[in-house]
Amino acid sequence: MKKVFGGESYLQLQESQIKPAYLFVLGCCFLAVAAWGYGSWFPIVFLVLGFGSMSAGALWFIKKTYEHELAGIKNNFIAFMPHTARGVLGWLVGVIFTTFYICLYWFPTKLEGLIRVVDPLSFLLRGSEANQWFLYGTFYTLAVLVMGVRFLYKYRYNRYQILRTLSVMFFQLVFAYLVPAFMMRLNQPEYYFSYFWPLSYYQLFPQNFDSLISQGGFGYFLFFWGVIMSFVAVPLLTYLYGKRWYCSWVCGCGGLAETLGDPYRQLSDKSLKAWKYERVMVHSVIVLVVVTTILLWINSINGGALFGSVSSSLAQWYGFFIGSAFSGVIGVGFYPLLGSRVWCRFGCPLAGIMGIIQKFYSRFRITTNGSQCISCGNCSKYCEMGIDVRWYAQRGQNIVRASCVGCGVCSAVCPRGVLSLENGPKNDKVKGPIQLTRVTKGSAEK
């Protein structure tokens, strides 16, 4: 990355951050030892000393980072620190994340040591021993909570950000971690109430239907919860609030992106070219998942005759490439390189569908404040979805874009208060561009 201006790489830690950093690294070391195969020795010890130290160290580090700063936007050095600007540290973090995801999906035995560390937690919550998915969920939830605290500190003057962050922390902890665990403990299916088809593509597959109803009445309820959410709640809530009700307030992928991914949000590609790719890719994924689901159902109703192998291999292919590789490995593994919302923007079919509703049938928009924009570029820079927000703001035009998840960071970083996320009358939604001066004679035709 070519640097035109910028100081030396600011990897300097403040004095108060050094001890917390050591504690965090100590926690990592314990987990590394556990991963090496010693995790099953005394799991509780590694759980507390490993996960505990990492979390405590991180929280302490966060407190020291933000406690002395007056509340307000301070994105200092983000554009040239090695961690947040694709430097060596950023790459290193990316490699670690990606390696974890690859092991998670395809080499889970490599994670055996770590899985045994969370056995005590798994027995407590789920009533059975842990597997790689519980390990993943534990890391994931911790990341959302700890980095959520960081986000709360950073944006503590901004009520919208506080409420939104508390919301994602709540939904991740409760509906994406504790509730499925408790359900398992109660011998019920491990169900994720906060994920729906087509994001959670398996939810409406016939195999899932069969498996759920075999558990009795409750299974019917769970399946139809999924149907109602996907076909009634999603369109209705997206009409009222835009897709932000889900993508930046409820969804776990979004929750991780807004918390763990916040240091990397500015790495999203803002170019027009990227937007063109985005539209092709996300709509292709929608088509794929809809076709796969339909084929599977046709096949199931016809008793596996006609499309048998086609539908099942399509489903497998989808699961491998879209569900695992795209959503997980690239989606999260590449945070420090491509930003926090690659999956959401280029792949998530639920986001794609809600985006279409948002663009054409919703009351949500980002209003721009008349002619106040000074084209500084902060809004575009910090838009995690790669929307060139400035393009609209400088013309006094409302932003009505399918990919906008309503995180509100553009509005927060704008130094002149030009942007406001609003729900309003539909007929009022598309406004601008503003012509600043009125030509007194003649007409300004193109």
Binding site: F77, A79, F80, Y157, S375, C376, P425
Partner: protein, 449 residues
């Protein structure tokens, strides 16, 4: 027709874009500062690392190619208005049919001893930024001279690098030439909260240096000597009229232009900071060195070049800034001194985070202007109220409709109304936001947007 624009700031680039919008004329934009238009307002964010230089370009590089606007990075060294051509430092000769001067501003320097020492500089263009990067490496203390908008930005920039700052302000309060006393005090408190050593009614006298030609300390009008390794001179700007003078155009403080922004040569226009309006519109100044005026002048010049007759009509004054963490917006006329026919209403919260200052005519009660600090106001609503001469009571009652704060933010309107009722012994009631907002939007359809 070949339209040549000297300067690619917001004024020059707006001319270019709009000439292309209105016509198929050939367009060339020349700048010595940078190849592509970038947002000068973002200079501070580049230094602080919020953005890179590339991020500050409002249009991707292909935009200029796609719109067939030729860009040249060079300095204009000679001009012949009879032959209608320019000579550039890179050796090129450019012929023009219409010329636009959008040469911007220059930082003021008032002849202080030592003002040319190393480590002493203003902040205006990209090259200033690079110099500031070099000048502020490994220093501990800086002095910023001048309590205004660029000054406060410079202070914030320096503090982001852990450099302590002393600020010398000539007036009794911060930016007191523009802000009324209460507003200036409010901001002054905030600046001090950020650990800035502010000296009011203090001017720079002398800058002292060492044998290497670099600044080591300054002496100010109070007699005190302050050690420092950097001095920021932010005491205002003046129009950059070098090229206009070279061309023999009518120049006073700026390039003098008529209401069509045409200079003393009918083929030469001017836009932006470098302009001096011969007859400014009512309530406006001859020189307006703000981003918004540059944009509006750019549109006006483009229209005039392309055969329309467009006089410069900027409308209701508006401006904005940010003082550390407090956003400032101004709509209409709020002068630092209260006029004879005027009355003012000021409200501030207890935590000194938010304040508003309304101005209205004593007799007619017509709302004339507002300063907002820490509250975002809707541009179009305030503009509408000022244009319509709405009474201050109606403004206060409908304040919610003019609020642009994000969702869930604290609402200050009830307390503002309460104080107003107390001060003027009125019994106004706050009208709800949303319904009225819709009503206003409907009403605003007929208003200039």
């Amino acid at each position: 027709m070949h339209v040549v624009i000297v300067g690619n700031g917001v004024a020059g680039s707006t001319v270019a874009r709009h000439v292309r919008k209105y016509s198929e004329n050939r367009i060339t934009m020349i700048s010595d500062e940078s190849k592509h238009f970038y947002s000068r307002t973002a200079l501070m964010y580049i230094y602080m690392g919020h953005m890179t230089f590339e991020d500050t370009k409002p249009y991707e590089d292909w935009f200029w190619d796609k719109n067939r606007i030729d860009l040249i990075q060079s300095r204009v060294t000679g001009i012949d208005r009879k032959k209608q051509l320019l000579c550039l430092q890179n050796g090129q000769t450019i012929e023009y049919d219409k010329l636009v001067l959008a040469t911007g501003s220059k930082s003021n320097k008032f002849g202080w001893p030592g003002q040319d020492l190393g480590g002493v500089q203003g902040l205006y263009h990209l090259q200033d930024l690079q110099i500031m990067e070099n000048n502020t490496k490994n220093i501990t203390h800086a002095v910023v001279v001048g309590g205004g908008l660029i000054g406060i930005e410079m202070v914030e920039m320096l503090q982001s690098r852990g450099i302590s700052v002393t600020m010398l302000v000539r007036e009794k309060r911060f930016w007191n030439s523009v802000l009324p006393n209460e507003d200036a005090d409010f901001i002054g408190k905030h600046i001090v909260k950020h650990g800035v050593d502010v000296r009011y009614e203090t001017e720079l006298v002398k800058i002292k240096g060492n044998d290497n030609g670099r600044v080591t300390s300054i002496t100010c009008s109070s007699g005190e000597t302050i050690d420092c390794q950097f001095v920021g001179l932010t005491v205002g700007v003046h129009p950059n009229t070098d090229l206009a003078e070279l061309a023999g155009l009518h120049v006073e403080n700026g390039v003098v232009v008529n209401k069509y922004l045409q200079s003393s040569d009918e083929n030469v226009f001017a836009a932006g900071d470098c302009v001096q309006l011969q007859t400014p519109p009512k309530g406006r100044r001859p020189i307006e060195a703000v981003w918004y005026a540059g944009k509006m002048m750019g549109e006006t010049v483009a229209a005039n070049i392309c055969g329309q007759e467009a006089s410069y009509t900027p409308g209701v004054w508006f401006n904005s800034a940010k003082f550390f963490d407090i956003e400032y917006q101004a709509y209409g006329a709020v002068s630092s001194q209260l006029g004879e026919e005027e009355d003012g209403f000021f409200w501030k919260d207890d935590q000194d985070e938010v304040c508003v200052h309304f101005r209205f005519e004593k007799e007619s009660r017509c709302f004339t202007g507002v300063n907002l600090f820490g509250i975002r106001g809707r541009h179009q609503v305030f503009e509408h109220w000022i244009n319509q001469g709405v009474r201050i009571e109606e403004v206060i009652e409908n304040l919610r409709a003019a609020n642009f704060d994000p969702e869930f933010y604290k609402s200050y309107e009830p307390r503002i109304l309460e104080l107003f009722n107390k001060k003027y012994s009125t019994t106004l009631g706050l009208k709800s936001g949303k319904g009225l907002l819709t009503a206003f939007f409907r009403k605003l359809e007929g208003v200039r947007l």
